[in-house]
C-alpha cells in the first residue's frame, strides 16, 4: 500500500524542499538519465544518422509537443489529479487557430476579419485555459473526481473540434501578406540559432515551471495540497484556487502544444492529439512523479518526455515495425516504475503516516 510513497519519496523530498540536493533523488533521476543515455547509445550504434545534431534537433522538436503537455500534466498530477482532456484541447486549439486564420465573417457588418497571428495565438491559449478552468471548476467546486471530469471534457472537446471542422482539416494556415496575418508557420518552421521554436518554447516553459514550483508560494501550496489537502487548507492555503489554476495551466499548455503542432503542419485537424494525454502522463510518471500528488518535479518530467520521444523516434529511424514501437513504449513505462518500486521496496515497509495513506490508495 505504500508503493506510491515508496516509488517516489526521493524526488518528492527534493522538489518539496525546493532545491535541496539528496542522494535519493540522484539515484532515482540517475536512473532516468541512465535510461536516456542507454537509448541514445544503442540507437547511435544501430544507425549512423541517429547521433547527429540535426537528428537530435528533430527529435527534440518531436519531444517538445509531449514535453509541453507533460509540464501541464505534472502540475495537475502534483495536485493529486489527472487531466485526460489535454489531447482533445490540443486538437481544438489547433482547429480554432485554423478557423480564425481562415478569417471570421461578421455577417451583420458584412466584413471578414483576419485577426493577426498573435491575436489568434492568444485566443487559442485563452480557449485552452477556459477548457482547463471547466475541469477545475468541476473538480474543485463540484468535487467531481478528476479522472471522470476530464474524461467527460475530453469527449466533449473532441466532439466540438469535429463539429467545427465537420471532420475536415484546415490547411494553408500560412496566412496572406495582403491580409497581414502571415507568420503562423513561424512557430513550426523557424529556428532560433538552429533550434526549432517548439523546443525553445518547451525549454522556456520548463524553466518557468520549475521556477514556480521551487521558488514561489504557489509552488509550495501545490506540493502541500497535493501532499495533504486538508492540512494545506487548515494552514490557509487556498487549495481550491490552486486546484483550478493547475487545470487552467494544463489547458494553456495543451493549447500551446496545439498551436505548435498545427503550425508545424501548417494545417489543423480535429483529431490531432488523440491519446497524447496518455503519453504525457507516461512521461510524468517515468519522471518519478507520484499519481497521488505532492511528489515529482520538472526535471524528472522532462527526462521522461525525452526517454519516450528518443526511444520511439529511434525505433522509426532504424526502421522497426510500428508494432514493436507500441510494445517498447509499454515496456519502458512498466520498467521505469518497476525499477523505482523495487528500489524503494524496503522503504515501502515503513509505517506510513496518516498523511501518507492516500498515496497508498491510488496506488493499490
Amino acid at each position: 500500500m505504500t508503493n506510491a510513497a515508496s516509488t517516489t519519496t526521493p524526488p518528492s523530498r527534493a522538489s518539496a524542499s525546493g532545491g535541496g540536493f539528496e542522494l535519493g533523488r540522484v539515484l532515482l533521476e540517475g536512473r532516468a538519465y541512465f535510461a536516456l543515455i542507454l537509448i541514445i547509445a544503442v540507437f547511435s550504434f544501430l544507425s549512423p544518422y541517429y547521433f547527429t545534431v540535426g537528428n537530435f534537433l528533430t527529435m527534440a522538436s518531436h519531444v517538445a509537443l509531449f514535453g509541453i503537455l507533460a509540464i501541464g500534466m505534472l502540475l495537475v498530477i502534483l495536485n493529486g489529479g489527472i487531466d485526460l482532456s489535454v489531447g482533445s484541447t490540443l486538437g481544438l486549439s489547433g482547429v480554432i487557430a485554423g478557423f480564425l486564420m481562415q478569417g471570421v465573417t461578421l455577417p451583420w457588418f458584412g466584413v471578414i476579419l483576419y485577426p493577426p497571428v498573435w491575436v489568434v495565438a492568444i485566443l487559442a491559449c485563452g480557449l485552452g485555459g477556459l477548457i482547463g478552468l471547466v475541469n477545475g471548476v468541476l473538480i474543485a467546486r463540484f468535487k467531481v473526481p478528476a479522472f471522470v471530469a476530464t474524461l467527460g471534457v475530453m469527449y466533449m472537446v473532441r466532439g466540438i473540434a469535429l463539429l467545427i471542422t465537420n471532420g475536415l482539416t484546415y490547411n494553408s494556415l500560412g496566412g496572406r501578406p495582403d491580409l497581414g496575418n502571415q507568420g503562423f508557420d513561424w512557430l513550426g518552421f523557424n529556428r532560433i540559432m538552429g533550434v526549432p521554436i517548439g523546443v525553445v518554447v518547451m525549454v522556456v516553459l520548463a524553466f518557468l515551471g520549475s521556477l514556480v514550483l521551487t521558488r514561489t508560494p504557489f509552488g509550495r501550496w501545490l506540493y502541500a495540497s497535493g501532499g495533504n489537502e486538508r492540512a494545506a487548507e487548515l494552514s490557509g492555503v487556498p487549495t481550491r484556487f490552486v486546484q483550478m489554476t493547475v487545470y487552467a495551466l494544463s489547458g494553456v499548455c495543451a493549447a500551446i502544444a496545439g498551436l505548435i503542432l498545427s503550425s508545424q503542419l501548417t494545417s489543423a485537424g480535429p483529431t490531432a492529439g488523440t491519446t497524447y494525454e496518455l503519453t504525457a502522463i507516461a512521461a510524468v510518471v517515468i519522471g518519478g512523479a507520484a499519481l497521488t500528488g505532492g511528489r515529482g518535479n520538472i526535471r524528472g518530467t522532462m527526462l521522461g518526455a525525452f526517454v519516450i520521444g528518443f526511444l520511439s523516434d529511434g525505433l522509426v529511424i532504424i526502421g522497426i515495425s510500428s508494432y514493436w514501437q507500441t510494445v517498447f513504449t509499454g515496456a519502458v513505462i512498466v520498467l521505469a516504475v518497476l525499477l523505482n518500486a523495487i528500489q524503494y521496496r524496503g522503504r515501502a515497509k515503513a509505517p506510513a503516516v496518516a498523511g501518507a495513506t492516500p498515496a497508498a490508495k491510488l496506488a493499490g
Binding site: 541517429y50 528533430t58 475536415l168 490547411n171
Partner: protein
C-alpha cells in the same frame, strides 16, 4: 497509413518489394491517419537521408505541411492512393480513379438490386477525401434512378466493427431496405456480418470498395455482391519505378503529376482471377 487494413498493408509491401528489386533500401512506416505521426515519419526519413519518399497522405490537407518539409529537404515525394489539396509539391500523385471506380461500383450495384428500392450508405472517415469522392461517385449514378431512395447514411470510419454496429442500428431504423453501398470493404464486411446475424443477407445486397482479399472471398461466397479493385499493387509499384527514374533522370517519366489508375470491378464471375492480394491476372 494504418497497416491493420490489408489494403494499406499490400500498398506498403508491394512498394518495398519493388524498391528492393530496384536495389533500394525501403523503410515502411505507418501514420495511422495521424498527421503528426506522419510528419514525424517524414522527419526521420529526412534524417535517414532517404533518396525518395513515397507517401500515402494521411489527410488531404493535413499532409501538405509534411510534404513541404520533405521538399524543403529536397527529397522527392511521390504520393500514392490519396491526393493532397495542393498541386506542384509532389513529383507525382498516383491515385486510383475513385470517381470512376465509384461509378463502376454503383452501376454494378444497381444491376444487383434492380432499378428501385431503399438503400443506406456507409461512409469512410470524412477527413479522407476519398470518402467524399466515392460517395459523390455513387450519388451521381444512383441519383439517375428516381426509384432508388437513400434512406440513411452513417460514418463508419472505414472500420469493420463500426460498420457492423452502425448497420445494426440502420436496420432498426430502416427495416425495409434492399441494398447497402459502402465506402470500402471493411465496412461492407461489417455490414454483411450484421445482416447475416439478422438473417437478412439474402434480401439485402451489399457492395464494397477496395478489392481486399476478405472482400474477394466474400464475393466468391456470394455474401458481397461485388467489390471494386483498386489497383493499389500496380500504382504502388509504379510509384517506386517513377521515384527510381526521378532519382536517376530527374524526371518521373510520367506526363503529368496527377495520374489516375482505373479501378476494376470484381464480381462472382471474375473473382477467381484474383491471384495475389489486390492483383488480378486477366
Amino acid at each position: 497509413n494504418d497497416p491493420s487494413n490489408p489494403y494499406w498493408l499490400t500498398e506498403g509491401n508491394v512498394a518495398s518489394a519493388e524498391a528492393k528489386k530496384l536495389g533500394y533500401e525501403a523503410n515502411v512506416g505507418a501514420s495511422k491517419g495521424d498527421t503528426n505521426a506522419e510528419s514525424t515519419l517524414i522527419d526521420t526519413a529526412i534524417t535517414n537521408k532517404s533518396v525518395a519518399i513515397i507517401l500515402d497522405p494521411a489527410n488531404a490537407s493535413g499532409s501538405v505541411g509534411a510534404v513541404k518539409k520533405a521538399i524543403a529537404a529536397n527529397i522527392p515525394v511521390i504520393l500514392v492512393n490519396a491526393e493532397i489539396n495542393q498541386d506542384g509539391l509532389a513529383k507525382a500523385q498516383l491515385v486510383s480513379n475513385n470517381a470512376q471506380g465509384a461509378a463502376l461500383g454503383a452501376q454494378q450495384w444497381v444491376r444487383a438490386i434492380g432499378q428501385k428500392g431503399n438503400y443506406v450508405e456507409l461512409l469512410g472517415s470524412p477527413s479522407d477525401n476519398n470518402a467524399a469522392t466515392r460517395s459523390n461517385g455513387y450519388d451521381t449514378v444512383l441519383s439517375q434512378y428516381d426509384d432508388l431512395k437513400k434512406v440513411g447514411s452513417q460514418v463508419a470510419n472505414w472500420d469493420r466493427t463500426q460498420g457492423h454496429d452502425k448497420m445494426q442500428n440502420l436496420l432498426q431504423a430502416h427495416p425495409d431496405i434492399q441494398g447497402v453501398i459502402s465506402g470500402n470493404d471493411e465496412m461492407a464486411l461489417g455490414a454483411v456480418a450484421a445482416l447475416k446475424e439478422a438473417g437478412k443477407l439474402s434480401g439485402i445486397k451489399v457492395g464494397g470498395f477496395d478489392g481486399s482479399p476478405d472482400a474477394v472471398s466474400a464475393v466468391k461466397a456470394g455474401e458481397l455482391q461485388y467489390t471494386v479493385l483498386q489497383p493499389v499493387a500496380i500504382f504502388s509499384a509504379k510509384a517506386v519505378q517513377e521515384a527510381d527514374s526521378f532519382i536517376k533522370t530527374g524526371k518521373t517519366g510520367a506526363a503529368q503529376e496527377k495520374q489516375l489508375f482505373d479501378c476494376v470491378l470484381i464480381t462472382k464471375d471474375n473473382a477467381a482471377k484474383m491471384t495475389a492480394p489486390f492483383t488480378m491476372t486477366p
